[in-house]
Symmetry: C2
Subunit: 354 residues, 2 copies
Amino acid sequence: MAKTKEDLPGSSRETDCRFLRACRGQPTDATPVWFMRQAGRYLPEYRAIRAKHGFLEMATTPELAAEVTLQPVRRLGVDAAILFADILLPLPAMGAPIRFAEGEGPIIERPVRAAREVEALRAADPGDLAYVGETLRRVARELPPQVALIGFAGAPFTLASYLIEGGHSKNFERTKTLMWSAPELWRALMDKLVDTTIGYLRLQIASGAQAVQLFDSWVGCLAPADYEAHVLPHTRRVFDAVAAAGVPSLHFGVGTATLLPLMARAGGDVLGVDWRLPLPEARRLVPGRPLQGNLDPVALLAGPQAALAAARRILQEGRGGPHVFNTGHGLLPETPVEAVQSVVELVHRGAPRA
Amino acid sequence: MAKTKEDLPGSSRETDCRFLRACRGQPTDATPVWFMRQAGRYLPEYRAIRAKHGFLEMATTPELAAEVTLQPVRRLGVDAAILFADILLPLPAMGAPIRFAEGEGPIIERPVRAAREVEALRAADPGDLAYVGETLRRVARELPPQVALIGFAGAPFTLASYLIEGGHSKNFERTKTLMWSAPELWRALMDKLVDTTIGYLRLQIASGAQAVQLFDSWVGCLAPADYEAHVLPHTRRVFDAVAAAGVPSLHFGVGTATLLPLMARAGGDVLGVDWRLPLPEARRLVPGRPLQGNLDPVALLAGPQAALAAARRILQEGRGGPHVFNTGHGLLPETPVEAVQSVVELVHRGAPRA
């Protein structure tokens, strides 16, 4: 990216923000960087709060959620804060209670598998998620002007997979079976998830989110033809609504090498990819689109030398166009904080040209 | 594929076998079909034996292993039998005992993480795996001449990942860390795994295996640059040895869309892909190479209509060159036998031209 800073329309806050400029395909003085799950267990200050509060309690209490959202900004000097929340938070507001069991991940109390269970769900009233708006307002007040505030939501497919499977899944048997064998029921479920997600993201934008990321974390389990037929139209409805709200959007999934052009059609100003798909190859697949990624988070566990070598490669591979540096999946709990700090410094300093 | 049968060199058994002809890129009268994990829990006759014997006992007792290898041939009319075994069987012969815990998957009793643990491993003496040769000889005696007998082994990377992690892994933290931070140790471990695998596959070929498949099941967790630097040279040594032995080889992994050209360079007459990578796209990546795959095994759970529609699509997409019909990963325990039977019939009958 060019080192010059241009004067461009927008508030001075937005003009000063590397992350938002890169999302819009504008030149930046350095590559912006943040990390998925940057607010998490690898930070001692996070663990100190987590020791006293349950995960869901933290995510639904604005004071606590705002504090852990801000922790990595103070500690790392990243270019964006991302709301501390969980993609499943809207589900209880739809009528599907959730809980987080220690060591087991999320559990949907009453999985959704039949017509009457889909009918019993409602599109969430954003008022039931007002606590998320309050968290964002608290964060926005504290955040330096050059640091962007990112909101997020789960994409309809990934949310549907949790609702149908009842939690994490390895093979997504029930999700795919419902999608293939009961397409009307699938559409009805996706419609409610899309409406919920649109309302939820509008609430976040109205509360201070300057960009939003849609996490379709598990969509990489699908063949492209299935994505195109059963996911793309629904995800596109979410991105169309975000575009109308005027903030940049990011579209992320894992293992999406063969889905990326379809995901680009569904929407997202920025496409997030993991380390399996090198950035130059991703640029070939979605020409002209800003990219986000794609350091393997495990590289941060492999010692300073390996971590910096891997980060340098990503930085160089990202040079073909607008690039937001990130990991290709969330930071792992065992990540050394120093490794993350040194990668932020490297990215801001810029790697020597290859 | 052309419907004509040509007279070509080779034993009459091999000339008659659709599977072996397709592996060699020769025309066949119908698309050959078999399934990964076709000998498994979805078959009542398998469960009847499994009820009386442990998994490892079944895999290491030639009489039992031969019987379950033959079960799907009788039941389904597939074009190939694959040895009933486990990719981890060579590990105990290397000095790394394993066990299979109910519901937990395989466990390596003493994970390999440091230099002295790598040094303590030996390349397996194929004599310690003689029971696998005996299983293959028993199967070869029973198999109709038109049905091929496939041997197999785990690829060095996937075996290393089990040894290092101690079992299944989600993020392969320890494997990648060792690979990146201790490259000499990694090479020493890979060398022992390659030597073991070559000896093991030669034993299988000498015992009647007419083709061998190398399962690099978890290699899809790697970035292409890491595959090229740390895996390709080792895997290539295995395929070079198999090529010298004169039987066709198949190279399989999951989620390998961005690795496929490198996997093709490592070797394998046939490249196996999963449903994430459509066969026409795979052909573009590795032109001229016979392909194997790539039905989503979950499609077999979704009712007869969805299963046949999905199989028909794969069959049509496979038409651009030599194709072995298979699932893109192993059959799932809840698969209805009738769904598998009807797909075999469809493949042999041939789908109407699109």
